[in-house]
């Protein structure tokens, strides 16, 4: 134990403040602007350009599809590990890009690569139980714990619903954006979202599950 006298020995206390501080990007709740859904033609064009060595095309593919890959990993492991695995997935995918036959199907292809990757965890780390990740002063330990509880509940859902719901609730994507990224039909995405939401409500002990199913049928 170090002496606490040092704390009392502060002779001059200067207060540093800042004029204006932008919120941290990782904490900004609505920092993700709505994007137009990516078209298959754009995807194919950028894959071909990447194969020809265009660094911009690689960057475009990464920017567009990283949220998809990230949510796949986030569904089965912790947030920091998911970030690491996202990079690894793109390393693998870009190294094998020449093996992609249907170039407009980059999304489903890299999603399949991501699903084959499994995190390596220490026995003390509990992959399915995330807690307090990236909390803020406004969102204190209880909000962080609530976020972890919701995320853990999403993780218990079947893969199809889980991934679609994470793209919606974590990445803030719209249904059309999710359909364009994943290669699913808009109808399937909508069904996944509503059924997933119904299951999530049930898992969290909230009401309204029947309404969700009714909405999908309507």
């Amino acid at each position: 134990m170090k002496s606490q006298a040092a704390g009392a020995a502060l002779t001059s206390v200067r207060l540093l403040t800042f004029d204006a501080v932008a919120p941290s990007a990782s904490h900004a709740v609505h920092a993700c602007p709505m994007k137009s859904p990516v078209s298959p033609f754009e995807v194919a064009r950028h894959v071909r350009a990447a194969l020809e060595g265009s660094q911009d095309a690689y960057s475009w593919l990464y920017r567009r599809f990283a949220p998809l890959v990230h949510t796949i990993h986030l569904g089965v492991t912790t947030h920091p590990t998911a970030e690491d695995l996202t990079q690894e997935t793109f390393d693998v995918a870009f190294a094998r890009l020449s093996q992609l036959r249907e170039v407009h199907q980059f999304g489903p292809w890299i999603a399949a690569i991501a699903r084959r990757q499994r995190p390596r965890m220490s026995p003390l780390q509990v992959p399915m139980e995330e807690h307090h990740d990236a909390a803020t002063a406004e969102a204190g330990p209880d909000d962080a714990a609530e976020a972890a509880r919701v995320l853990n509940a999403v993780r218990t859902l079947p893969e199809t619903y889980r991934e679609t719901l994470l793209l919606r609730l974590v990445e803030g994507m719209s249904g059309p954006e999710i359909a364009a990224l994943t290669g699913l039909t808009p109808g399937s995405v909508r069904v996944n979202l509503h059924r997933g939401m119904a299951m999530l409500r049930a898992a969290l002990g909230l009401g309204g599950a029947d309404d969700e199913v009714f909405d999908v049928r309507a």
Partner: protein, 330 residues
């Protein structure tokens, strides 16, 4: 409901407060893009010897560079101020004796010499107490910080009211209110919470609550609420000198394999628990011999060697701090 009115289908539609709330909660897990994507290495045919030779040279260069970088990273002249950067563009320094306080709409980032960084949330107040190679110490009065340190154990510490959090090479978050109550949550590596002679180890994936007068027992992220309550109840009873066999049995019954750290800490803090069923449960969790009466007796008497023997069964003890190398990538 049409697709346009459907808040699940059309993000940004404010049709459902519940979905908005879930979105706000989960936004913290959103992907953070890196500056640029890595591109594939061109598939150029190489001769048989060229790749191993290049790998050996590259490895040598990396080793030399790493050794140099490591030495530079750890070295810090006494009382050299730390760099302070806001998330915007302003910059300042924090010298020994200085205090930094963020307003309600401010965040800040401190560079801890060269061994890591601290992010300060709004309404946080801390002081730099000491800085030199091997010993960097701050005092946190109130607020929330997130510290990411990659250095040998005990190089960085946070002084609290009557207690101290010692970094053992890790990333952690810390909330403290002005009364000295708070919580520490460990993301990677280990921390040690010390209060007087009492030392409590908290590894990654666990958290500890504390008040100005008492340190809680570390709990696994996601531990059941009922289990948490029983652990706290048992700890408080034993700390007050009384026995609570009901709480003890309940803790043992509800504990999962991943709660081994919690049980180990309980038994370390209250060695008499080794006389009860908790000893057998922990032995089973650690695959340690449960029938070793000599060991059990030594533990119940609080002998350090018996206690250490089981702590060494944990998969990543604090001394292996270098394995959390990701915390060096700031």
């Amino acid at each position: 409901m049409s697709a346009h009115d459907d808040p699940l289908w059309a993000a940004g539609t404010h049709g459902s407060e519940e979905i908005q709330r879930l979105e706000n909660l989960l936004a913290r897990y959103r992907h953070v893009p890196i500056a640029a994507a890595r591109r594939a290495t061109p598939d150029v045919p190489r001769s048989r010897w060229r790749a191993p030779a290049a790998a050996a040279v590259a490895m040598l260069i990396v080793l030399v560079a790493t050794a140099g970088w490591f030495g530079w990273r750890l070295q810090w002249s006494p009382d050299t101020p730390w760099r302070v950067a806001e998330t915007g563009s302003g910059r300042a320094q924090l010298a020994v004796g200085d205090q930094i306080a963020t307003r309600a709409d401010e965040r800040a980032r401190l560079e801890v010499a060269r061994i890591g960084s601290i992010e300060l949330s709004p309404r946080t107040r801390l002081s730099l107490l000491q800085t030199r190679s091997g010993e960097h110490r701050i005092g946190l009065e109130s607020g929330h910080i997130r510290a990411r340190i990659w250095a040998p154990p005990r190089w960085f510490s946070v002084e609290l009211k009557g207690a101290e959090i010692i970094d053992l090479g890790c990333e952690f978050e810390l909330w403290v209110d002005s009364a000295g109550n708070g919580r520490a949550v460990v993301e990677s590596g280990w921390i040690m919470y010390t209060r007087g002679d009492q030392e409590t180890l908290v590894p990654a994936g666990h958290w500890i609550d504390f008040t100005a007068g008492h340190a809680g027992i570390p709990l696994r992220n996601g531990a059941d609420a009922a289990f948490r309550m029983e652990v706290a109840k048992l700890d408080l009873a034993l700390s007050g000198g009384s026995v609570d066999p009901v709480a003890e049995a309940s803790v043992v019954r509800q504990a999962k394999q991943s709660d081994v750290l919690t049980l180990l800490t309980l038994m370390t803090r209250h060695p008499r628990l080794a006389e009860g069923p908790m000893y057998l449960t922990v032995a089973d969790m650690l695959s340690a011999p449960a029938g070793d009466l000599q060991h059990r007796q030594a533990w119940a008497q609080g002998r350090a060697n018996a206690i250490d023997e089981w702590w060494d069964h944990l998969p990543r003890p604090p001394k292996q701090w270098w394995r959390n190398w990701r915390d060096a990538l700031l």
